[in-house]
Amino acid sequence: MAIKSQLHGVGLGLKRELIPQIQSLYGQQQLANISFLEIAPENWINVGGKYAKQLDWFVERYPIVCHGLCLSLGGISPLNVDFLQQVKTFLHQYSIPVYTEHLSYCTDGFKGEQGYLYDLLPIPFTEEAVHYVAQRIRQTQDILGQRIGVENASAYVAAPVSELSELDFINAVIAEADCLLHLDINNIYVNSVNFGFDPHQFLRGIPGERIIYTHMAGHYQQTPSLLVDTHGENVIDPVWALLEDAYQLFGTFPTLLERDNNIPPLNVLMHEINKIADYQHKAERSFTAARQSAKTLG
């Protein structure tokens, strides 16, 4: 999976509010741990004017990954092939090697159109849904001529029609579609609280070798048993512990901080970026130490 090697370290989701701050602090030591940036193609396809110039500026300076929101892999309306062609052109135009999407849907085919609802809705975990979604991922990969990563989505409602666990659903889709996994650590935690499972156990069931990169984020606690994936708060300790566990299980992988709401100044966000970098270094050191002691023993 050559794609993974093009990314490393820590990334940050590029929100408009952060653009002037990154531009003015670019090259300074305090931003040294930002190794790549993530954008949503839905925000940047076919833009002109100052937006096009901003994009050019970032593409020249940072590796960029695309993380889509509206492909609607689980949607009932036909896959939007025109849009996918636009994504393809966009990826080529800016030499962006990575495109990931959510294991969710955002369309309902209302009135015979796509019917975009512009949010990430939970796919029921059924056998039929596995085949349906996997086929659409394959179609996407065929059109793009590259593998995509799919992200485990957060959810608040469990569909009574579901036949599989979330973990079995994800594994079945990924295996059938032969795609990569864009692992969202916070979403594992959010769902573990919302649906009552052990997030560390969940981690042990995912195909670690398919991880392309991971997301870290904060969430909002609406009640002790209901977390909402707002990306508007700091990352909490149990989510940090999950990241650490994931690094120990699978080795380190590129990890990106998402902050979409209630965005603090960049120098404050850098605390969390730097913390991810620290976790990565720590995990790499213990990984190397473990290998050396294995050699000594051998």
């Binding site: 833009v47 209302f110 949010d119």
Partner: protein
């Protein structure tokens, strides 16, 4: 037809029906209401914020309650067909032009023009660059065809949309011509035109003729006794548009 769908898709349709119209669509069997309410709220709030951000004046002019109702109806009745977030307001405009009958009374006559005017800024700020080929940046505007900025929008409204504020709603129609474009610094600029200048620019755009030809036509249309004065005056206007970056050269 719905009955032929796999169970997961039947469930999805019941789910999204509830998001579109939580008051009237039946609740989902076996789904806790407070959990479903999370989706009902976030999906609507996202859409509402995307729409409202584009229409700061219109939303205030018609008032919170009516604005909310319009957006709820948009959520319920409109099938959005673009995955691009910045096109949400444009789709709202399309909805306003063809709303459900019971909403007609919520929509004052001037609202569509006002919303269009507010949306134009978003459009012009983000229209992709096109670089027209073979342009003479310093060509003579009188004897050549002036070429306008590809971002330029020539607008004609029945109301003085640019003067509307929440405290100053239009009492009567007032034919209003505006020109909106993005300058070399990527700033969106608005110019109020008089009817004659609007007509001149329309002629240049539609007829693809040189500056002086367009002005001669215009003088005829106006039945002006001294066409020469129209031509002289018109050329200074074209020069002025050139200096502002509305005209980018000649063909």
């Amino acid at each position: 037809m719905v009955a032929e769908l796999p169970s997961f898709q039947r469930y999805q349709l019941a789910f999204t029906a509830r998001l579109r119209d939580s008051r009237n669509a039946p609740p989902l069997a076996g789904v806790p209401r407070e959990r479903m309410a999370v989706y009902e709220e976030i999906v609507f709030n996202n859409l509402f914020e995307s729409v409202s951000a584009c229409f700061p004046i219109a939303s205030k002019v018609i008032g919170k309650r009516k604005w909310l109702k319009l957006n709820q109806a948009f959520m319920r009745d409109y099938s959005a067909n673009s995955p691009l977030f910045r096109r949400i307001p444009e789709q709202f405009l399309q909805y306003l032009n063809n709303p459900s009958p019971e909403l007609q009374q919520l929509i004052p006559d001037y609202l569509n023009s006002l919303c269009h005017y507010e949306w134009i800024e978003l459009l012009v700020s983000s229209i992709p660059e096109t670089n027209p080929q073979g342009i003479q940046p310093n060509g003579d505007l009188a004897i050549n065809r002036p070429v306008f900025s590809p971002t330029m929008q020539l607008l004609n409204y029945d109301y003085a949309v640019h003067k509307i504020t929440p405290r100053k709603k239009p009492q009567h129609k007032a034919s209003t011509q505006l020109l909106v474009y993005r300058n070399a610094d990527d700033t969106v600029k608005f110019i109020e035109l008089n009817a004659v200048t609007h007509r001149l620019i329309s002629l240049l755009l539609n007829e693809a003729i040189a500056g002086e030809q367009a002005l001669t036509l215009l003088a005829k249309e106006l039945q002006h006794p001294q066409p020469e004065s129209i031509i002289q005056f018109g050329l200074t206007i074209l020069e002025d548009l050139k200096n502002q970056g509305v005209i980018i050269g000649t063909h």
